[in-house]
Structures are given as structure tokens and as C-alpha cells.
């Protein structure tokens, strides 16, 4: 019988697959007492299972890369330490040795014992950490349950499956996707959890908070899930399947259409060339950007060079990273942003940042760079040296006043002179730009145009600072809205002032890669977009279908609209639902 379920869409995509239920208690627990002669063998089985679980964690850790790597690695480290901790494992060995329990039963008893302690905790966050116990011990259980060749069978069995569980660890998602799982339905979780973010970057459809899923789905039930709407159907009907097939056709067409756009220009219907750049932080991003026809790297984040380590990368190390980036883009321009760290993400960076009451308004970006000129000079020298290998621009984050750009420009000039004196080959007149993400800089932009060669708009922070809404605060998510009239006015003003002084403007926040905002940004006069490489083709397709001159004609109406609702209404009249 058809059974609809609903949760929250966390990672888009529609898939049809067989359900595979997974929960900590799903492993077969053998409760029969152990024969005395079998104790040693059982202890050895447990030791091997724990060892195998640790190796799995290590393998997972070594394969991590990209934006989520650092956080996922911290979880994996914690889990590996737990497995190595005698306070966790000694009790299990003891249950086998003196309690005559089989290994699986001993692991379960230890789990129940520890979870009971966590459940007594007052602090809701710490109480929730019993999840860590479950993740770790179910990994051991999985290894106990596995016969010699069962590994491959278990993995093969993933093909065509939709995982249904209460929760899934970020570290489990990568192997799930690699082994052919189609999607994930969880009874708990949120769309902003680590797992959800990772699922989106893996393009693995996910529904969270589908509370009834475990209770109403059985192993091998056929499920149709839609990770965009958050709806799932157990035992789909012919009608559901028809809907799925039409979705598949549409997606296949879209993929084909987009693939054709790889090597084409980005041009509006009325013939205006639009430049699509890519944001990048890893070698994989750079390769993807080049393959999908980005005109350049519009924003290269240098933070990853500084994170997850205890010393500051020296000039040579930075130079090699920047040079490889420039070589990787084969002559297409690369915009390198100087260090954009603050107290909120200064983890283990070797920078020893002081904790701050309010890191979003604290010593971050150019403020940090100017307080530690040596740090900035090292970075500027490394970038200047890389400029011998291809076109490079430098972008300065978190600028709020002209004086800051004057200081950076002075240090850049001195660094270039020193390098030339020392005999280094470097490019003439490297372009220096300001990232406009603080409202003060947007409002007073005319006062710094003589100090910059180009401008980049960072909408993520511009929205947060203009609206005074912390973008990580779930409670305020509804207020974090790029369609606020104040945000549109600032963006329009930046584009206008920069244009009047002959400066190019790139927009590189989330807005740039979200097709719902493309027409709006064209209307406001934007011609340079920079986005995650995965979004390039979709945005190119969107732009190719729009008429810029006609959109420009609606700019006054958009900027006059006094509320979000009225802005949406103007956009709807242009055929854009938002």
C-alpha cells in the first residue's frame, strides 16, 4: 500500500531504490553464553574487530579533502581515540573474559552502560554525544558481524539502496556514496548539519527529520525519495513511477544541455558577454573550473594553507601553492584573496589568535593582516613571485576604510621592489582589489576607488553585516535575506560607483551561483560572477536565456520596491519565481 512520508529536503535529487534500515541495534547479538575453551578466540575476534574499525577510520581520514575535510577529520580523530582508549575497550574484554559473553553481546552491554551515563547528563549537547559512542561501537559490531569475504558483499549490497537510519556520521557518507548508495532518509537531523552539507557536496540526495521513517519502512521496501521537497513514498504507485520517470528525463535533458555549454561563451540573449569565474580552494576545484570553462578563478581562498597545522606556512611553501594554481589555470587570470581568518576559525592555525567576544566584528581579514604585517608581507611576496607564471590579481578581504587599502598598497609596493632588487622575475603592476563586504566600505566606496584596481562583492558577509543577522544562527535564518531592499541598494551602488571609475566588479557570494538571483544581478548591472565550479554550467544556461537590456530597464522598479514582497513581485512579473 502506498505510504507517503515527509521530512525536510536536505540534499536535492530524486531517486528510487530499496530501503536498507540501519540502526545501532540492527546487528545480530548472539546472547548464548560462551564455552570456556572459546574465550581466548573470542577475545582475539574482538581485538581484530577493534583493529579493523580503527583502520577504517584511518582510511577515511586519509581520503578526506575539500571544504569539509577539517571538521570531518576532527570527528574521525575523536572516534579513533575512543577506540584506542582502554576505558572504552577494557570493559568489553572483561565482559567476555569473566562474564562469558560473546563479543557482540559484550559490545552491546558496554554500549548500553555508557549510553545510560550520557542520558543522565543535564547539558543537552553533551547528552547528544552518546551518538559518538554509537558511531564508534557500531563500527566494531559491523566488523564482528563480517565474515572474511562479507566485506565485498556488504559493499556490493549498497548498490541501489537508500539508507534509512536515525542518524549518519559525516565520515560514513563518503563510503556510502562510493559504494553505490542512492540516497539517505534520516529520522532526525537538520538541513544545516555536517552530514547534510557533506551530502550536498557529494550530490547524494538526503531527507532529514522524516520522523516516521524507521517505524514505517521495512528492509527492501521500494522507496521513491525527493531530496528537494523532503517527500518520500514507500511502495510507490504507477503514477509515482511516472512522475519519477519524467523527472529523470528532465534531469537527463538538463545534463545534456549543460554539457553542451562547457565550451561556449556566456552571453545574454541580446549579445552581452558575461564573465563567469570560479571560486576555488583545492586543486580539484581548479581542475573543475578549467574543465567547465570558467574565465578565471575569481576567488582563491588561501585559508586552507593555514588551517589544521601548528606553524605558519613560509614564503616558499605559499609560493609553490600559488604558482601551481596559476599554472593550473593556464593563462586564465587568478584572483588570490589574502588571508581571511578570524577568531572563529583560527583553529590550530599556528596564528595563536586571541578568543574574542564577537569574532564576526573582530580582528579578521585585512585587520589581522595589518596587525601582523610580517604575515601579510610573506603572503604578498609569495603571490608576487607566483605572478611570474601567469596573470594574478590580489584581493583584500574585510576592508572597511580607504586607509587599509593604502597600507596594503604600500606594503605591496615595497615587497615588489625588494623582490626585484633581489633579482626575482615578477609581473608589472599587479592588480589589487578590495572585497566589499562591510557596509561601511560599500557606502564610502568612492573614497577608495583611487586605491584599487578592481572590486569584489562578498554577498555572504555583506548581507550578514547589513542586516545585523548572524548567518550561522538558525533562529534568525528567516531574516538572512539577500532580497532585503537595503542589500539590493548597496549592491547596485557598488556596481554603479565602481563602473563610474572604470573598475570591474565581480560578485562572489552564494548569490552568484544561485540561479534564482541571476536575473536580478544582471538587472542591477553585474557582468562578472564568481561561484563554486559545480554551478558554472547552470548559471551559464540561465544567463544565455536572459535579455540584459530588458532586465536593466527594470532596475529602477527593483530598487524602488520598499519590501521584499514587492521586490519578489517585480521579479515574478519578469517570470522569475523567488
Amino acid at each position: 500500500m502506498r505510504l507517503p512520508l515527509s521530512g525536510i529536503g536536505a540534499s536535492r535529487g530524486m531517486v528510487l531504490g530499496r530501503a536498507r534500515l540501519e540502526q545501532p541495534s540492527r546487528y545480530l547479538i548472539d546472547e548464548r553464553p560462551l564455552d570456556e575453551t572459546a574465550i581466548d578466540a573470542e577475545l582475539e575476534r574482538l581485538r581484530l574487530a577493534i583493529e579493523a574499525a580503527r583502520e577504517e577510520l584511518e582510511t577515511l581520514r586519509s581520503r578526506l579533502q575539500g571544504a569539509m575535510a577539517r571538521e570531518a577529520a576532527e570527528f574521525l580523530d575523536a572516534h579513533a581515540l575512543m577506540l584506542a582508549d582502554r576505558e572504552l575497550t577494557a570493559g568489553i574484554y572483561e565482559l567476555i573474559r569473566t562474564g562469558r559473553h560473546r563479543a557482540s553481546a559484550a559490545v552491546k552491554l558496554q554500549r548500553d552502560r555508557l549510553v545510560a551515563v550520557f542520558e543522565q547528563m543535564d547539558d543537552p549537547y553533551l547528552r547528544g554525544r552518546k551518538e559518538d559512542i554509537d558511531h564508534v561501537l557500531s563500527r566494531v559490531q559491523a566488523n564482528l558481524a563480517r565474515e572474511s569475504s562479507a566485506e565485498e558483499r556488504r559493499l556490493a549490497a549498497r548498490v541501489g539502496e537508500i539508507l534509512v537510519s536515525d542518524t549518519v556520521a559525516p565520515s560514513e557518507l563518503v563510503p556510502l556514496a562510493e559504494h553505490g548508495a542512492l540516497g539517505v532518509v534520516l529520522t532526525s537531523g537538520s538541513a544545516v548539519s555536517h552530514s547534510a552539507i557533506l551530502a550536498r557536496s557529494l550530490r547524494l540526495p538526503m531527507i532529514v527529520a522524516a520522523h516516521d521513517a524507521l517505524a514505517s519502512i521495512q528492509d527492501d521496501d521500494l522507496i521513491l525519495m525527493d531530496g528537494e521537497s523532503g517527500e518520500a513514498v514507500v511502495h510507490p504507485t504507477a503514477q509515482d513511477l511516472a512522475r519519477y520517470r519524467s523527472w529523470q528525463r528532465e534531469t537527463a535533458h538538463q545534463a545534456k544541455r549543460l554539457a553542451l555549454l562547457r565550451d561556449t561563451d556566456t552571453r545574454t540573449r541580446d549579445g552581452v558577454a558575461i564573465a563567469l569565474h570560479a571560486n576555488a580552494e583545492s586543486p580539484a576545484d581548479v581542475a573543475q573550473a578549467r574543465n567547465l570553462g570558467a574565465v578565471g578563478i575569481g576567488l582563491y581562498r588561501t585559508e586552507f594553507l593555514f588551517l589544521q597545522r601548528h606553524e605558519i606556512p613560509d614564503e616558499d611553501e605559499q609560493f609553490l601553492a600559488y604558482r601551481d594554481l596559476v599554472l593550473g589555470m593556464q593563462g586564465r587570470p587568478v584572483t588570490i584573496r589574502t588571508l581571511d581568518l578570524g577568531a572563529d576559525k583560527g583553529d590550530a592555525s599556528g596564528l595563536a589568535l586571541d578568543a574574542e567576544e564577537n569574532p564576526a566584528l573582530g580582528v579578521r581579514g585585512v585587520r589581522l593582516s595589518l596587525r601582523r604585517p610580517q604575515l601579510l608581507v610573506t603572503q604578498l611576496r609569495a603571490i608576487l613571485r607566483a605572478s611570474a607564471y601567469g596573470p594574478v590579481r590580489i584581493l583584500v578581504p574585510m576592508v572597511s576604510a580607504a586607509e587599509e587599502m593604502a597600507s596594503v598598497r604600500r606594503l605591496l609596493g615595497e615587497s615588489a621592489r625588494d623582490l626585484r632588487t633581489a633579482g626575482y622575475e615578477i609581473a608589472e603592476n599587479l592588480e589589487l582589489g578590495a572585497m566589499i563586504e562591510v557596509p561601511a566600505a560599500a557606502i564610502a566606496l568612492a573614497g577608495m576607488v583611487h586605491l584599487v584596481d578592481f572590486v569584489a562583492i562578498g554577498t555572504n558577509d555583506l548581507v550578514q553585516y547589513t542586516l545585523a543577522v548572524d548567518r550561522n544562527n538558525d533562529q534568525l535564518a528567516h531574516l538572512y535575506d539577500p532580497l532585503h531592499p537595503a542589500v539590493l541598494k548597496l549592491i547596485a551602488q557598488i556596481i554603479q560607483v565602481a563602473g563610474r571609475h572604470g573598475l570591474r566588479v565581480t560578485l562572489c557570494g552564494e548569490m552568484a551561483g544561485d540561479r534564482r538571483y541571476t536575473a536580478l544581478l544582471l538587472a542591477l548591472g553585474l557582468t562578472d560572477f564568481s561561484m563554486h565550479p559545480g554551478q558554472l554550467l547552470e548559471i551559464r544556461e540561465t544567463i544565455n536565456g536572459l535579455d540584459r537590456a530588458a532586465l536593466r530597464g527594470h532596475a529602477p522598479a527593483l530598487l524602488r520596491a520598499p519590501t521584499r514582497e514587492r521586490i519578489s513581485r517585480v521579479l515574478r512579473r519578469l517570470g522569475i519565481g523567488i
Binding site: M82, D123, K345, E356
Partner: protein, 89 residues
């Protein structure tokens, strides 16, 4: 033997990742390290021990180190608490 009183100031308290950082930081020292919390005493080099303290924001703790490099071990522990485990919260 050294002893220091300290209060937890990171928002999430001694959860798994913070505990892991503490255990990893102490790994290189020979001295024993202990945390005393509400009369409970645990080995600070054991992630399970530290997690089971259920020490959240604002919990007062006593840190104790004992051994040849007790000073350096204490300093490493105190720094980590003062840096709020690099969580910036």
C-alpha cells in the same frame, strides 16, 4: 605535583572533539594528567574519561599534572582551555 583551578568557557563544553584535542595535546607528555570535576576524578589522557565528566559551559574543574614534565603538560592543558579548544565560541 601541580594543580590549577579553571572554568570551562567554550560554548559546547568537553564534547568529543574538544576531548580529543585535549587527549592529543597531552599525548607527548610523560606526566600523568588528571581532571577533577564535582568530586569525580578522571585520567585526562583518556577521551572516554574526559567525555564522561559531562562538563559543560561554566563547569569549574581542577587540573592536576604529576611527573617530570608536569609544568609543560599543565601549560598545554591550560592553553587549550583558554583558547576554548579553538572553537571561537
Amino acid at each position: 605535583m601541580l594543580e590549577r583551578d579553571i572554568t570551562i568557557t567554550n560554548r559546547l563544553g568537553l564534547h568529543a572533539r574538544a576531548s580529543a584535542k585535549l587527549v592529543q595535546a597531552l599525548h607527548e607528555f610523560q606526566s600523568s594528567a588528571t581532571i577533577v570535576c564535582r568530586g569525580k576524578e578522571v585520567n585526562a589522557k583518556s577521551i572516554m574519561g574526559v567525555m564522561m565528566l559531562a562538563a559543560g559551559l561554566g563547569t569549574p574543574l581542577t587540573l592536576r599534572t604529576d611527573g617530570v614534565d608536569e609544568e609543560a603538560a599543565m601549560q598545554a592543558m591550560v592553553e587549550l582551555f583558554e583558547r576554548k579548544f579553538d572553537e571561537g565560541a
